[in-house]
Symmetry: C2
Subunit: 350 residues, 2 copies
Amino acid sequence: MNKFQLEEHPHQRLNILTGEWVLVSPHRTKRPWQGKVEKVNKDPLPEYDASCYLCPGNSRMGGDQNPAYTEPFAFTNDFGALMADTPAGVEVTDCLLHARAVKGTCRVICFSPRHDLTLPLLEVADIRKVITLWQEEFRQLAADTDIKYIQIFENKGDIMGCSNPHPHGQIWATSDLPAELIKETSHQKKYYEATGKSLLQSYVALELEKQERIVCENDHFVALVPFWAVWPFETMIISKRHVPDLLHFNEAEQHALADILKRLTIKYDNLFETSFPYSAGMHQAPVNSGDHPEWHWHMHFYPPLLRSASVKKFMVGYELLASPQRDITPEWAARKLQSLPETHYSLQKV
Amino acid sequence: MNKFQLEEHPHQRLNILTGEWVLVSPHRTKRPWQGKVEKVNKDPLPEYDASCYLCPGNSRMGGDQNPAYTEPFAFTNDFGALMADTPAGVEVTDCLLHARAVKGTCRVICFSPRHDLTLPLLEVADIRKVITLWQEEFRQLAADTDIKYIQIFENKGDIMGCSNPHPHGQIWATSDLPAELIKETSHQKKYYEATGKSLLQSYVALELEKQERIVCENDHFVALVPFWAVWPFETMIISKRHVPDLLHFNEAEQHALADILKRLTIKYDNLFETSFPYSAGMHQAPVNSGDHPEWHWHMHFYPPLLRSASVKKFMVGYELLASPQRDITPEWAARKLQSLPETHYSLQKV
Ligand SMILES: O=P(O)(O)O[C@H]1O[C@H](CO)[C@@H](O)[C@H](O)[C@H]1O
Ligand SMILES: O=P(O)(O)O[C@H]1O[C@H](CO)[C@@H](O)[C@H](O)[C@H]1O
């Protein structure tokens, strides 16, 4: 019998942020694929689209008109999942039915007035303006003391449920701490209380020493494929400094975050020479709920593509009912991403 | 200010099986949809397809040939995510990297020799043969004392990652208890230890009394939209009797399970007059790991469609990073499903 090898044998890995295991099946890439193939849209987008409800000056679906904005622009979602005026309330029946009101706000953040410029195609200075807007939004949303958590995220690409290609992200702020954040808070806290250190700071130090899962880095941030990655090319951006949220970034860090966002998303686009779909978002300390010295700012990227621009990984039966499962090792994915150029493929060819 | 109302205001509901909350946004169905629209294949399937690797007598991708089977047929997946001969092993570094070997088997279950007969189109007597095969497989897989859990499931439809339309399900048996099962075991156990009763038996009794989320029932099973449903038309089938796994079903229960499977899946197909995609699977007690008096057999259906045969709910940015979120209330979905006929639309029109 062979010795157990991570690159060869099915195994589970622990997500130290959530306490959950993922099933890794390294040998499974040999599987032929006869299933669903996504349509890949290769048409370039125009700089301005008169029918786009996010372009400057256009009317939105809710009836409002966008200003002729020239910098990143935020507004309240006309069809948000949350409402600012939800009355408080709880309904419980026999410990079997539990419901409670949630109050909150959904914001939309247009990254650029340009309809065609996704993050990898924006200049670093322009991404930095997006970061500044995220900071302003965070500050303002946190000023409402009912708000306990602020989720900044982006769905990119129609296969990630994005209904408009105009580059934009969202912010959902809620009066409750969402499920994933409860898990990440408790695991970071346990580690912090046991060691006096940030879990992710120790983790980043170990990864920088090992150099097996690093995608790229700069003075202030590391992009890596986490040891417990679920999605084929899942990554995290982690700040080298232990800070609880994005309001703590100094000038140099703001610039460095813009830099690593651009470099990582260029590598993503270069992987299959396509505008790479993903859901991405920051995790940071809860607001208006006491001190959280355990919390370490980071950002997750969950991209669905597996084999090509048109074949994705499906998180379905076994994954939904039992445990997440992946077909390539995180180390393989990291080497692949690490080796890709940091110039966007569309510019290399010009 | 209005009173808090479940039908009107955003709220969270607790999943009593997993301990996790889901965000419900009842008002959000008004949102216009400009995003991805799935291709709907309306071509009827042939009874036999010479290019299908699951049809009787055909060659499989791994090279083996199927027998000329006439009853439900099972074989070991040629490209399974698990291997029976994985050597045992553990790798841990500094409490930050944790991996452990997983041993197991992946089986494929063809429901019928007919390429075109999904569960709603099979006769009740033929579904019962599938149930008998599930029981045999379960018994045989559990005979390996290394196996701790047996996940029986089906991915239906190409938008659920199913790579072959020939009606089939899968069974993955593993040497570890998967994440979802750890949660469900612990919550059932807590309730059982506190009350001496099965959590789901109490829950079913409450739902039958309330009659707000019942889809259909017979003498031995209930199909309902759980109070904490995540997917738009998510349902559960729960046995009225408290049994830990499908080996405990008597003759009458086997027949009744076939009956309710057919009725529920017919309603699903009738909802949007399409072969309704879903991932579905049974949850039952772990095997080879002591007594589990808390465990109550049930089956989950996770269907993605939201508005029509071509518009699904995307579980993306907020859902992956923060908390699952749904746009229609479980009560609305249950009323809709409950009102649908129990004759398949394709037969109504003949
Ligand atoms: O084994 P299949 O049917 O080829 O594969 C399908 O089901 C599996 C189990 O849910 C998933 O891991 C795959 O992503 C999906 O495509
Ligand atoms: O708000 P949008 O972009 O229209 O909607 C998208 O993102 C939301 C947040 O992840 C999801 O709930 C929706 O299913 C998805 O289509």
